[in-house]
Every structure is written in structure tokens, then in C-alpha cells.
Symmetry: C2
Subunit: 328 residues, 2 copies
């Protein structure tokens, strides 16, 4: 039997246990060109909260009673695709389940001798790629500039903060615990705990770029701190995804004109063409240790909903993952 977590109800506010349901279904059987994958690590990502609300944005919403697709890494159990063999490590969009059948053409093979398979969901996967595209293509960062990264200890934030450092920027980062701040400082980030220090003080010297992972009040503070021709990389708004109603936005939008700011949003799925270039640059950094990563790994498929809710409580340092099967 295949075990999976499905959406039982559209969450109101913070996602809770009763919004999800554990279901067992008979194993699907592969057709020609399809592959059976046993999931090992399943990704929980803040953007999934948006898909649970039922509003179509850049991806269709999740349906009540339907599966929760998303990033996962696993091993091929059986293959009817000549390009994939049993035993291969693969990245899929199988999501919150322990097993699934998928077209071989939709899998990306990974080599566990090059980097641990979990990195394909984190620093060398969608979060790392999001950080890289945001900095280079959206923010167009320049050596010598100062950047502020909010949510800097998260999967995207920690990659963004370090890539910015590697590109010669001064990096200020916010996080929500002493442990996270401590880690960021070892990475050369001027980190502060936003629960203790006001961002306004931390940014008093001014910034050139703001990498926004959290939305809300931080955006207003950053707009005030930005110098002329500053940019906001609008990447995420984790502080807002659970809002039941829309909250007022920045009161200082007039500064966008007087300081000639650019506030630009992006969605990583528009940029996949550049993924090979990202890997070519980031893999050596990861292998040399110049680009560090942390993972918060929760065990057990049944704990996926709580791990997901934990993203909004800031439970994770680095990438939050759930192990749903043996990782060998």
C-alpha cells in the first residue's frame, strides 16, 4: 500500500493537524515509460501554504481530498523507462507520500557520490536556485553593495546570504533565534535576532538590496533603509501566508519614486533554463564548503503536517525535510 498525506480542509490561519489526513491507497502500477519511486525525503515548503487556499496563482491550487504534490527525493524501485534504472536516486514532484509512479521523463537523476541526495531539495535544489536567480537576475547584485536578507537562516535565505557573500557583498541577515543567529555569524553574515533587535537599527547604515523572504513589516523598514537605485527581490512572504485577511502594506511607497527603487517579484519555475548554470557555479561551492547548508530533518510520513506548520513557527534551521523511508 502507498501511504500519503492529503488535504482534508483548507487551512484558516496556521495549518493544523485536522487540515490533513493520512490515507492508504493500493500501489499504482507503472505503464511504459513510467517509473516506481520510493520516496526517501519529502520537502515541505512555505509556498505550499498558498496552494492550500484554493486560489489559482502561478500553480493550480491543491484540491480537498487530493494529493499534495511537491519536491521529493527517492530511489527507483522499478523502471519502465530506459533512461532510469532501479536503484537510481531521483528528484520528483511526488510530494507527501512514500511511493509513487511517475513518467521517467519527469525525473531528474542525482548522483549521491557528488553531493548528499538531500541537497537536491535544498542548497542544490529549488531553494538554492531561487536564491541564486533572485540575487543575480532579479536583484542584479554588484560587488561592494550591502544586502539585507530576511529569513536568513531558512533554506532560501541561508543560500542567498552566502551567495551574496561569495559575490563580494556585505550581508545583513535576520533570523528568529539565538542558534540561527550564531550559525549565520559563522558564515560572515551580520546577523540579528528580529525578536530582540529592531530591523530599523540593524539597517541604520543603509542597504542597496533587500532579499525579502518574509514580507510584512520588514518590507517597509527595508524600503526606508534602501539607498538610491535600491532593489527589492520579492521572493517570499512567510510572515503573511497564514493571514486570514489582507494587512496594510508599506506606508512609504512614495520612496519608490524619490529613491528610484525597483521592487520585483519572481517565481522560480520561470527560470529553469538557467538551472544547469546554477549547478555549475554552486556545486563546487558546496563541495569545497564555501557554501554551507543545514537541514532540519523530521522522521515519519505522519509528521509531515507538523513539520510543515513548523516552517511558520521558525522551527527549521536551513532546509526542513521529512524522512519517509530508509535513506540507503
Amino acid at each position: 500500500m502507498t501511504r500519503e498525506v492529503v488535504l482534508a480542509a483548507r487551512p484558516e490561519g496556521e495549518p493544523k493537524a485536522s487540515d490533513f489526513e493520512l490515507r492508504e491507497t493500493p500501489d499504482a502500477v507503472p505503464d511504459d515509460g513510467e517509473v516506481v519511486v520510493r520516496n526517501v525525503f519529502v520537502s515541505v515548503d512555505p509556498y505550499m501554504r498558498g496552494r492550500m487556499t484554493g486560489i489559482r496563482t502561478y500553480v493550480p491550487p491543491y484540491e480537498i481530498g487530493g494529493p499534495l504534490d511537491g519536491g521529493a527525493v527517492g530511489r527507483v524501485v522499478e523502471s519502465r523507462d530506459e533512461n532510469v534504472a532501479a536503484g537510481d536516486w531521483v528528484v520528483s514532484q511526488l510530494g507527501w507520500r512514500d511511493r509513487g509512479v511517475v513518467a521517467g521523463s519527469r525525473l531528474r537523476k542525482i548522483d549521491p557520490s557528488v553531493a548528499p541526495p538531500t541537497t537536491a531539495l535544498g542548497v542544490l535544489g529549488m531553494p538554492g536556485f531561487t536564491a541564486w536567480i533572485g540575487l543575480l537576475d532579479v536583484g542584479r547584485i554588484q560587488q561592494g553593495e550591502t544586502i539585507y536578507v530576511s529569513g536568513a537562516a531558512g533554506a532560501v535565505g541561508s543560500a542567498a546570504a552566502q551567495i551574496a557573500r561569495l559575490k563580494g557583498l556585505r550581508v545583513i541577515g535576520s533570523a528568529g533565534s539565538a542558534e540561527k543567529v550564531e550559525w549565520l555569524r559563522t558564515l560572515g553574515v551580520e546577523a540579528f535576532n528580529y525578536r530582540e533587535t529592531r530591523a530599523k537599527e540593524a539597517l541604520a547604515d543603509g542597504i542597496d538590496v533587500y532579499f525579502d523572504n518574509v514580507g510584512g513589516s520588514q518590507l517597509e523598514v527595508a524600503i526606508s533603509a534602501l539607498r538610491d537605485h535600491g532593489r527589492v527581490i520579492a521572493c517570499g512572504a512567510v510572515s503573511r501566508y497564514n493571514d486570514a485577511r489582507a494587512e496594510p502594506g508599506p506606508r512609504n511607497m512614495g520612496l519608490v519614486i524619490t529613491k528610484r527603487l525597483r521592487v520585483e517579484g519572481f517565481i522560480i519555475i520561470d527560470h529553469f533554463k538557467r538551472f544547469p548554470e546554477f549547478i555549475a557555479e554552486a556545486l563546487p561551492w558546496v563541495r569545497s564548503g564555501e557554501l554551507e547548508y543545514r537541514e532540519t530533518i523530521v522522521d515519519g510520513l505522519e509528521n509531515i503536517p507538523d513539520a510543515f506548520a513548523g516552517l511558520f513557527r521558525g522551527d527549521n534551521v536551513g532546509k526542513m525535510l521529512v524522512r519517509v523511508g530508509p535513506d540507503d
Copy 2:
């Protein structure tokens, strides 16, 4: 004697008569390289409100008791610069006065046989150039797109709406009176009176670009109406310049991410290099009548403060000017 309007007090809220003072000073005498200019038309512009607040932005603030620099066209009375001759029509930054002395190198000569001198302060001057740069370089408009221009009957807005039409866009425009709406409709603009029709309804089909001249609540409505990859040309915020305190911003900034929007501000003084290209494109349009303009001309130097205040009441159709001397 030179008559000039100076700043008597920093306005709080809407500018009022007592914020200004009429002053007479002895005529300045030109040095080598300098020129005496008799102002004919003086420009009043919404951006001047910002300079009256005392906060340095992209230009220094006006000082209490000090002159109010700004665009003006006039005629040369006496020249000690070999490139300028008595009788020449010139554009200067002499501002709210009837006469002044300025370095000849800081004047731009205009030929009244090519276009009426007032156009150098409007459709062929800073407002028209602002519209052109905003559309082309900031908004990067494309034929076939739909654009919404707020304040579409103003000096910048009416140029923006028409240039967008000339570039093959569908144009929706807002204005605050039946007369303005009527004019815009003759220009091929789908105009609505924002005092009678909700912008949300007028934009129900969706837009690709928003040319923002007014700020405030229109920005939120436009962000909701923008399609994927939409742009906001953040040009002005005339609805906000008199605010005593900062008002909450758009509640829908999250859409900047999901719709991959770009909100970008600009200041025309950064773009002067492109002015000749603008004139090369816009002058034939003006001469052929493809690019129309209107002017609201108030007579008398002493009426400058009220003409200026009128900008925020929407008194002007097209460019607001004050005639401070004989125009022949």
C-alpha cells in the same frame, strides 16, 4: 525691480496663501557668461510640493525665505554669453519670478517657429519627456498591451496616454471631471471619472502596465488588475503629497511575487541624456497633431501660489502654467 514668490512657511497639508510671500528685490546684474532673462511662463509642478517639506530627496529642499526654483520659459533681455542673444526664447530653472540672471550655459534655447514656447514646459518639456521615459525605459511597453494611466488629463498623464496609444497600446485613463474625460475620449483613451466610477470596475479586464501619477489607493487596485509580468511605472503620487502623515500602502503586495510584477520608480533628471531622442520622436507628433496637448494658463505672478495649490484640486486640464509677463 525683480518680483518673486518665495517660501514663507513649510506647508502643512494643502499649500495655502500664507505659505508664500511676494517679494521685490533689486535686479541682479550679469557677469561674464551670464544672461538676463525676462520670464514669460512659469511652471507649477506637483513635485515642487515635496521640495517644500524640508526633507532632502533627489533635490535639495526649498529654504524658508528662499526662492522657488523651477521650470520657466522667457526671453533674453541682455546677454554676456556669446551663444545667446537678446530676444532669444529660452528655458531656464529660474522659477517663480519675473526676471533673473543665469549662466548662459544653463539655458536651453527654443525656436518658437517650431512649436509654441509653452510646449517647452509641457508636452515637449519635462512632463512629456517624463511620460516617454516612463513608458519606454521603465515600463518597457509593448504593442498590443493594455495600460492604465492615472491622472490621465494632467501634463504627464495626457502625454503618457497618447504616446502609449501611438505605440499601439490599449489605454485606460482616469481623470476627475467630465470635461477631462471628454477630452481623453477624443484622444482614443478609454477614460473614466474616478469620482463616479470605481477603478476596480474600469480595470476589470486586466492590465499589463500601470503608469502611476497619483499613488494611494489606485496603486492597490492596479496591482490587483495587473496580469502576470505586469509593471508599475511609479512616476508620481499627487494624491499623497499633501498627506500630513504616512498612510498605509497596498494590502496586496504579495501579488508582486505570485504575478512576478515589477514596481519601479524613476526621476526624470537621471535620464537627460535621452532628451534629444525624445524630441526627435515627439516633435513630429506634436507638429502633426498626433500628440495633442492642453494648457491651463493663469495670469499674474501673484497668482502662482493658487495655481500651484490648484494642481492638487485638479484645476488643470493638461499643463498648468502661469503667465508672468507679455508673451511676445
